[in-house]
């Protein structure tokens, strides 16, 4: 539960999950362990039934998987009952081939629990909307706008869901893995009818690069 400041030696001695590095380090590589038994996870599962889908802990950081439908309820509970008043950050990860394509990630801090932090993960499929937590923490407003802008995940019930970092009228969502890293033709953004979806080189063009 506790977020350790310096982990290395305390990391669980599980087998390294990574491919074998060139020069193997002396200390074993950290690996995730199940954290369903953590008091917080147990309390959350009891208070909001059906919210917790799984929990794991890695390098002292707990990650709880939350069911999308129960997200707002779980967040309310964490904020009001478990004193996680501070939404540190929110972002998303694009897993391209995975079943729910995106993970929307939140991490929360409680000022009453020392250095304890908890990370929530919500799986969201492409085209699906994620419930907004902007009603729970004001600060989620811009963070969700950013995720919307860069990943194209829409947030249901968000008060002001507009693009924030790219401009209005921009086509595509830059942080998706299939967005070309060299960017798209600006014209594509301005004249979407003249350019393919996503802009830039056509999907079968060999100049079009995607990030693995």
């Amino acid at each position: 539960m506790a977020d350790e400041p310096k982990d290395a030696p305390a990391a669980p001695p599980a087998a390294p999950a990574a491919p074998k590095p060139a020069a193997p380090p002396k200390v074993p590589l950290p690996a995730p362990v199940d954290a369903m038994g953590e008091p917080l996870v147990v309390a959350l599962a009891a208070a909001v039934p059906g919210a917790v889908l799984g929990a794991k802990k890695m390098v002292g950081q707990t990650t709880v998987e939350i069911a999308p439908g129960k997200l707002v309820e779980a967040c309310r509970h964490l904020k009001d009952v478990e004193t996680y008043t501070f939404l540190v950050d929110q972002t998303a990860v694009d897993w391209k081939e995975r079943a729910p394509r995106f993970d929307v990630v939140y991490w929360l801090h409680s000022f009453d629990r020392g250095s304890a932090r908890v990370r929530l993960k919500v799986g969201v499929a492409d085209g699906e909307a994620c419930p907004t937590v902007a009603g729970v923490w004001e600060t989620a407003n811009w963070m969700e706008r950013e995720v919307f802008d860069l990943f194209g995940i829409s947030f249901e019930g968000h008060p002001d869901l507009r693009r924030i970092l790219t401009w209005d009228g921009f086509q595509g969502h830059p942080l998706r893995k299939d967005f070309p890293v060299e960017g798209i033709d600006t014209g594509a953004a301005i004249y979407p009818d003249r350019y393919p979806e996503g802009g830039g080189p056509a999907p079968d063009d060999k100049n079009r690069k995607t990030v693995s």
Binding site: L29, S115, W142, R163
Partner: protein, 385 residues
């Protein structure tokens, strides 16, 4: 084409007032002397009083987080310099901390101390830059030159150490690249000892200045609850009276061994944020002196931990944060076991603190908006990434 009109189009039409007068829409930025970069704020003003303020960011968006995904772990470090470009060392630091955490690497003590020295020098230089620009925003032009005199020395020291003055690229996963140059610690100590008197000079110009107090006291109040609600960290949060500092709350490197205090304010206004930052200058000076002592007493030692030649952290994710001059700066690293980050998210304190601007500015005058932007201390490189 119509959607290109920009976010100003999204601002609802001004309401008619009783006399049939309409509020004026004022486009504050992106080219404006006191938005500290390309920040645009769409203001609705009633005379000079602000009815609503809507920050419009993104003019400096360079897709840094996308770039991260195409670079190997060591290659990411120079990109982090360009986030908060006036505090490159803390950016480097937060990133390497995240990678080290996931790798499980222990950083040698000497490297930790040198990192803290770089961090604190960076904090001083960033706060000096803040003081300079915040004073200019309120019309006091002289502190600018005083603070830049000291900032110059810090930049010279950085140049001495790593060859760069602004984009330092000074930290490596597992430690540092370079040992300190000979005589560097002495130069740093001479500067640091001198700094106390220099800070007094700035305070002489501003702290008890009647006009400065008139312009800053009671302006842009954001109390602790609202700060936390908005996720505001760093000096604005501490000025609200809440002693929360990542260096103490989530200690990293050798900070638990160092003796320093967290300055806090009472009134959560611009003046308190000014006082907090000035007090932080003094605290950073105190930390630097302690580090100088330690480094002088331990002149040799490893500066690089045991790091594999090719950095391939295990599959998993990790978040690590430092107290940057602007607030909590965090890096969220998702690794798929490859030699490039699968996803690297920056928690940009400037971006998140800026979000509270409309609440701080509401009901104040246009002149106060300038003071409030100045007091949040944003760097657009970090806001827009």
């Amino acid at each position: 084409m119509s959607e290109l009109v920009g976010t100003a189009g999204a601002v609802p039409e001004s309401e008619e007032t009783m006399l049939g007068l309409r509020e004026m829409e004022l486009n504050f930025g992106p080219q404006h002397p006191s938005t500290h970069g390309v920040l645009r704020i769409v203001l609705k003003v009633d005379g000079e009083r602000i009815v609503s303020a809507r920050p419009d960011v993104g003019y400096l968006h360079r897709g840094t987080e996308k770039l991260f995904e195409t670079e190997t772990y060591p290659m990411v470090i120079p990109h982090t310099d360009r986030l908060d470009y006036v505090a490159a060392a803390t950016n480097n630091h937060a990133y390497v901390l995240a990678v080290e955490k996931l790798l499980g690497v222990e950083v040698p003590k000497r490297a930790q101390y040198i990192r803290v020295v770089l961090d604190e020098m960076q904090r001083i230089s960033s706060h000096l830059l803040w003081l300079a620009t915040a004073a200019i925003d309120l019309g006091a032009i002289t502190p600018f030159f005083y603070t830049f005199r000291e900032r110059e020395v810090i930049l010279d020291l950085f140049e001495d150490y790593c060859g760069a003055r602004l984009t330092l690229n000074c930290m490596r996963v597992g430690g540092l690249q370079e040992e300190l140059t000979p005589g560097w610690i002495e130069k740093l100590r001479a500067f640091t000892e001198d700094l106390g008197a220099k800070i007094d000079e700035y305070e002489d110009l501003l702290t008890e200045n009647r006009i400065w107090k008139m312009r800053t006291i009671g302006v842009g109040i954001l109390n602790t609850e609202r700060c936390i609600e908005w996720g505001v960290t760093g000096p604005p949060l501490r000025a609200a009276g809440f002693a929360w500092d990542v260096r103490r709350a989530l200690p990293y490197e050798c900070y638990p061994e160092l003796d320093f205090e967290i300055p806090t304010g009472k009134n959560a206004d611009t003046y308190d944020r000014y006082l907090v930052r000035v007090a932080e200058l003094r605290q950073s000076r105190r930390i630097l002196l302690q580090c100088c002592d330690w480094l002088a007493a331990n002149p040799t030692g490893d500066i690089r931990g045991k790091v594999p030649r090719v950095i391939k952290p295990p599959v998993g994710d990790v978040y690590a944060s430092v107290e940057s001059p602007k607030g909590e700066l965090g890096f969220y690293l998702v690794s798929n076991g490859g030699n490039k980050p699968y996803r690297l998210r920056v928690r940009p304190p400037s971006f998140i603190n800026l979000q509270a601007l409309p609440e701080m500015a509401r009901g104040h005058m246009v002149s106060d908006l300038v003071a409030i932007i100045g007091t949040i201390d944003i760097v657009l490189g970090e806001v827009d990434r």
